[in-house]
Symmetry: C2
Subunit: 233 residues, 2 copies
């Protein structure tokens, strides 16, 4: 498969472009509004047809590119089941497999950062974790219906049970790393190594992080697939 990691510097967001090199069908996971022109250029240059924009969750730190990309390409916008996004063309359920040519994307419910969040396992090898598992970290759980206990359960019971060699591609990384593996995270992730569910919940309750700068704009915009932000420009 064609697999590309793309980076948005303003929000440190990783977007993933996945395509079947034979059918030329493509999917973008967690596209960013400010990068839509770049993403459209890459699709065009690679001769790809965008079929889907897929969200891991309703983001609070950036506005999704889905609305603009849908307008430009006619692709479908897919969000996790139970997400408050009436604009979505389709909702994806835990365990559901999205098939696109030779590409298989399995949704794995990983609640905790928000109350509707999916990780996506691509062709059994590449795990896109969104804001659940990060490289040596995890997404925060202190706003937007976050729940630290649910995060602990999802990561330890759903993700850490995947094969050790599964590649971990997060939604963000703040130290300049790009990829890890399940085996590495089980061995070295300080949020989980030596933590019980209880101590993890306690740790997450005391991070005292500032709110994301864009939260007041991003959440309502993303519930409309990025449309609100576009209208305001």
């Amino acid at each position: 498969m064609l697999f590309r990691q793309l980076f948005d510097e303003a929000t440190w967001t990783y977007t993933y472009l996945i395509a079947d090199p034979d059918t030329k069908e493509a999917i973008l996971v967690d596209p960013v509004a400010e990068q839509v022109e770049r993403d459209l250029r890459i699709l065009k240059e690679l001769g790809l047809t965008l079929r889907y924009c897929l969200e891991t969750h309703i983001h609070a730190d950036h506005v999704t590119g889905t609305g603009k990309l849908r307008d430009a390409t006619g692709c479908l916008g897919i969000v996790p089941a139970n997400a408050q996004a009436t604009c979505a063309d389709r909702f994806i359920q835990d365990g559901e497999v999205l098939q696109m040519g030779s590409i298989q994307i399995e949704a794995i419910a990983t609640l905790g950062h928000t109350d509707s969040h999916m990780a996506y396992l691509v062709n059994g090898t590449h795990l896109l974790t969104g804001d659940s598992l990060f490289i040596r970290g995890c997404g925060r759980t202190d706003f937007q219906s976050g729940n630290a206990g649910a995060m602990y359960d999802a990561i330890t019971q759903r993700l850490f049970t995947l094969p050790d060699e599964t590649l971990v591609y997060p939604g963000h990384d703040y130290k300049g790393e790009t990829v890890s593996t399940i085996g590495e995270e089980k061995q070295w992730n300080p949020r989980f190594v030596g933590q019980t569910r209880e101590s993890f919940v306690d740790l997450m309750a005391n991070l005292n992080l500032p709110n994301p700068k864009k939260i007041m704009e991003a959440v309502p915009a993303n519930q409309e697939c990025g449309k609100v932000a576009i209208a305001a420009r």
Copy 2:
């Protein structure tokens, strides 16, 4: 092989970690001084022994991590033939192959950005281009013995003659892209598509870019493998 792309946000530099998963020997290409602690942590967590720090060239935009890494691990610092770096443990020649376990790294002289610059072809598939070929761009040629004609020759005659599917991993990318291929660059790179050697030289002479912020510090520091910068801290 183990292959990891690492990012330094301050200078937009990509560092590459390459290792033989069996012998656990590792090499870092273009490490950055400010990221040495991160890089040492990753090496430790992955159980790797750093054998070499390899530079594509003497950088003007960041200070190399080689000096610190050599002090910490006893690795060897390798720089391109003719580079003004008396601190180097070893110089690598055009066409020379560095063998480390199952990893083969072939040096390809790609002058132009500086007068001593190598691209490195790893296991015949992954091409680390340093500041020669970028994704839809190329390194600048207007300081540090840069030579636009040499850049044009190196890229069109040495790199664009590699197989189309060769993966291109640059030393920097300023649009959030992480990888490309030789085929893509031959087809879409605006610095080369439709350009003659003459028009390319003219184009490069008229970019009017500001000097890198760190040039006065970085070049002399890198001629000492990063030692000067360390002493000044």
